[in-house]
């Protein structure tokens, strides 16, 4: 394991006129570990070469060892700024494979959690773009509301960041009264915070001059590079998995898709802010729909799928069938139908896809994650060609590169 491998000089390096700069795996600007070797002509970037894999944790191989319900903990660590979206996406994949149909209330609860995590992800990305252009205040101010989102997650599943939330078929427990209280507090206070965050940055001359024109990409090139999510929408294409392949009852909600025009950092920032407003709209609609549910429908928090959803412990100790189902699920005796399924969800960065091939055994035969960060980071050299070094830093952070998702 040599230490020279990180910095490679080109042949004939004595004669070359460009400087090689290693924006190495540890750098304050790379939020996560990936390396960029830049060739600079003065301050302009001539070319950039990326190295990833510094946090390759072999998720796909690890998933071949675990039963389906244990893979949720792996999916948390993909895009760890918005882990519930990954968890829900994985549960949707399993439900598609196993043929489990979730009731509406479960879908709406999932929508609330997914939109909260989308807000949490975009908050990190936008405040870090602010930090990279020199404005630390936005980050500090907005992190307090991320703490409130974390408190909501804690009420639902017990954990803050890597949530392992939900089960195949729904949630492990109903949302508590405290969870609803905190959600109401969030819905009441957050719009003012987002407005103030926008006031800090949107028409701020320094911020605009830093970000407008930095790293633009046209819609055709973005599509060819496989961009999805806010980066693609900033380039002008209104592709959103929630609208085009609706999952978890997203078709019941009305929301807009904010779209940019040039695909530069300013557009990406605005698109993410716009998406946060739309997420708030969706949360309010889902909250209203859940509050309007009455009677038995209002107590449902999981699908009626005893083959895949662990029964309540009190039933396991008293009823025979529950005991048998519990045994079968934990010992892996349930029948998983063989087949292959591809399910995509709209993650914080774009289309997060799960390609699952099952051969009927307890563990998947092959699980592949279609990770948006990995796919669009390839375009970085094209985005920064001819840009200045400071633009390269801003482009890196506005693309919202999460190393855990990139390397998986």
């Amino acid at each position: 394991m040599s230490t020279e491998q990180h910095i490679k000089l080109r042949e004939g390096s004595i004669e070359k006129t460009t400087t090689t700069l290693n924006l190495g795996p540890t750098h304050p600007a790379t939020h996560g570990v990936f390396q960029n070797i830049l060739e600079l002509d003065g301050e302009r970037i001539v070319s950039a070469e990326q190295t990833v894999g510094y946090i390759h944790r072999a998720f796909e191989k690890l998933a071949e060892r675990r039963p389906l319900y244990q893979i949720t903990t792996l999916t948390d660590r993909l895009n760890y700024c918005s882990s519930p979206i990954n968890n829900m996406g994985w549960h949707l994949t399993c439900e598609k494979l196993l043929g489990v149909k979730t009731p509406k209330r479960v879908d709406y609860l999932r929508v609330i959690i997914m939109e909260l995590s989308r807000i949490s992800d975009h908050l990190i990305c936008n405040s870090v773009v602010g930090v990279d252009s020199g404005a630390f205040t936005g980050f500090l101010y907005v992190m307090q509301y991320r703490e409130l989102i974390y408190e909501i997650y804690e009420e639902v599943c017990g954990s803050r960041l890597t949530t392992n939330m939900g089960r195949i078929g729904g949630f492990e427990r109903n949302f508590t009264a405290a969870a609803w209280e905190k959600l109401e507090k969030f819905m009441a206070e957050y719009p003012a915070v987002l407005k103030e965050f926008e006031n800090l940055f949107n028409r701020n001359r320094i911020f605009m001059e830093r970000t407008i024109g930095a790293g633009p990409i046209s819609a055709e090139r973005a599509l060819n590079y496989g961009f999805t999510g806010p980066n693609l929408r900033a380039a002008g294409v209104d592709y959103d998995v929630r609208v085009h392949t609706p999952y978890s009852s997203y078709e019941d909600f009305s929301f807009d898709i904010p779209v940019g025009s040039t695909g530069d950092c300013y557009d990406r920032f605005l698109v993410r802010n716009g998406e946060m407003w739309q997420s708030l709209r969706i949360i309010e609609q889902a909250y209203r729909k859940i509050q309007d549910m009455k009677g038995a429908e209002a107590e449902v928090y999981h699908a009626d799928a005893p083959e895949y959803y662990l029964p309540a412990k009190s039933d396991v100790y008293t009823k025979m069938e529950a005991l048998i189902w519990h045994f079968k699920i934990v010992m892996g005796e349930t029948d998983i139908p063989p087949g292959e399924v591809y399910q995509a969800v709209e993650g914080g960065n774009g289309e997060l896809g799960f390609y699952l091939i099952s051969d009927g055994g307890r563990t998947p035969y092959r699980l592949h994650f279609r990770r948006p960060c990995f796919i669009y980071y390839q375009a970085y050299s094209e985005l920064t060609k001819g840009a200045m070094l400071s633009d390269a830093i801003i482009v890196m952070s506005s693309l919202n590169l999460i190393a855990g998702e990139m390397d998986a």
Binding site: I55, A58, K61, R146, E147, R160, R173
Partner: protein
Amino acid sequence: MARPVRFNIHPIQADIKDNISLANMPEGYTGEGFFTTKLSDVVGLARKNSLWPMPFATSCCGIEFMATMASHYDLARFGAERLGFSPRQCDLLMVMGTIAKKMGPVVKQVYLQMAEPRWVMAVGACASSGGIFDTYSVLQGIDQVVPVDVYVPGCPPRPEAILDGFMRIQDLVGQESIRRRNSDQYKGLLQSYGIQ
């Protein structure tokens, strides 16, 4: 089936009288207009209340570290206001997140660039022992490449746990003897890692 929630639904309002603490004077001999103590105690007191950490944030624990640095769980209260990204200027290397085998030499190189006295904190299960990733590509704990002073378990550890780890480092820093870095035992420790 839902159990009623009992905790943290009506949080107690903060009271300033509970929140101020002063650093204690080191043990020493006081007289009329003078105070004597050991040099290592004074140096330790100064160092521990102004540690400059270097965050080596790789994955999820890095986001919990960002939450620790933010205003809610402020790390700056402990003197760690200035995060350095240059290892030459930092005292404490906080490795947060999974270290893959590809990243191992980078951690070692960063550790080598730090000047003595230096401390290392392994935050999270992955940095301590490989965590849930017992795979071919993950280094099973950074103590395979650098000597570690404090391990903070958790996946990810709560910000309070990271602060607790930081306070344990402060204890170590405050009680360190002046001769430790030149002692044979320390040199032997570095030799075992292949560091001169």
